[in-house]
Symmetry: C2
Subunit: 248 residues, 2 copies
DNA sequence: CGTTAACTTGAATTTTGTCAATGCCTGTGG
DNA sequence: CCACAGGCATTGACAAAATTCAAGTTAACG
């Protein structure tokens, strides 16, 4: 959640020549140099002065908050095309760390703001971006507040499947560690592991190595995720959040 | 969370004569008629076409999401001065119900958008409003993902105390039912009740009827809420989120 | 003042977490 | 290319936390 608007497609278009016709939020990053971060490296830290906005170009970031006694919460995973730290205050609200090898572009906050001012057609984009983040946050709150361990894990797999399955294949990558998954779902690694094992033995998923699974029965997975709306005729590629461009 | 910016003070100013000098988001509602809702009544329903934006004038609203099997999550309580349904999509993302007797004003979404367009000085307000909602959402995610029942209850009391205590008195109102608290904190009524009892018997709080408590030891409460930053020299009225007006 | 819903309390159960031991990828260096 | 090491992941036994179910109380409201 929090910035999971994948505008990678639009992004492609606008590279090189950011025409007014298809200018978008990602355009701002197109001339910035690419920076690389290795697994575990932090892109920025919670509490630091928020000087930049980022675009993920490659790899996966985790958005982390830590309680004073070390308990860790991952509030989001960011994928290529996502913008990080858009909704911000004076200081970063969280730490962003590379899960895999990651490439990002950065844009100074000032410049980002200036561009938004200069090109009013960007405002609705920024706005709907924030609104989708809010919707995603609410989904996560529901998951954390009321779902069981199994429902949490199934919801997680399903969310990734809906966004990243390759074409018809129902094989998906889980590049993050079990600890990352646990801290995202409010569980322990052991519970995540046991749940995955159970799903495998029941034929819902099949694991191909530690970071790759294939979904054997998407309907069952959806049911176990606690999404069964009686009708249950959801397609894997359904769009959950209808969006309207704001006119501001 | 989600819209807890209490601008009641600013609101007072702008009533009657919404001068440009102190125009704010609340100004838009100042000429709207006041509507009343009794406890339990819904102001709008999740999924309905989002035709209005609301301002709470009096009383408390709960923001509710329901899973298909009836499990309920309250993602926010809204207080006087709060704006509801600002960050929105095509349809409402949640149901809003009156906890107490509630008075609200509504503003057609179209008009709200037009006004934002017409008075650019409102945009930064809208923006920082959304950003604060995001920050609050993240706090709630941390609470739900990693805090114990006792930490959750203490965090909740502390949050209300920081916003609504009357002057020096550390007596606060908890107008919502135990079920509402439970659905907000991801617990059961029994667990909430037991925790409150335990806090009372340990002298952290004292209850004056079911919906009113006084805080006996704010430092202990803060420690039990899991906020102890070693330093622990926080004041009850500290502002947790520093905010910067956006220039968009 | 009586009714009733809301709340509290207790006991048993379930779920998830903790601790500890083992197993298995993955990447490194021979 | 293989062997090995070390980090992750899995599994099991047990413990703790929270939920569930079932009575009791209390307080709010007519």
């Amino acid at each position: 959640m929090f910035s999971h608007v994948n505008t990678a497609a639009a992004h492609q278009q606008s590279h090189g020549v950011p025409e007014a016709a298809n200018r978008n939020l990602q355009s701002m990053f197109s001339r910035q140099p690419i920076e690389s971060f290795g697994p575990g490296e932090a892109v920025f830290w919670e509490g630091d002065r928020a000087a930049h906005v980022f675009e993920v170009t490659e790899g996966i970031l985790r958005v982390v908050k830590i309680l004073s006694d070390g308990r860790r919460v991952i509030t989001a995973f960011m994928h290529p095309g996502d913008l990080v730290s858009i909704s911000l205050q004076e200081n970063y609200l969280y730490t962003a760390e590379a899960v895999t090898s990651v490439k990002i572009r950065r844009c100074a906050r000032n410049r980002f703001q200036d561009e938004i001012t200069r090109f009013p057609e960007l405002r609705p984009q920024l706005f709907s971006h924030l609104c989708e983040e809010m919707a995603a946050a609410q989904e996560q709150v529901v998951l954390l507040a009321r779902k069981s361990a199994e429902e949490k894990v199934c919801s997680f797999i399903l969310k990734i499947a809906r966004r990243f399955r390759q074409e018809a294949r129902l094989e998906i990558a889980l590049p993050m560690s079990r600890l990352d998954m646990a801290d995202y779902l409010g569980l322990t690694i052991e519970t995540v592991s046991r749940t995955m094992t159970s799903l495998t033995s029941r034929g819902v998923i099949r694991s191909n190595g530690r970071h790759r699974i294939s979904i054997q029965c998407i309907r069952k997975l959806a049911r176990l995720a606690g999404e069964s709306d009686d009708e249950d005729n959801q397609r894997i590629d359904q769009t959950n959040v209808r969006q309207r461009a704001w006119q501001h």
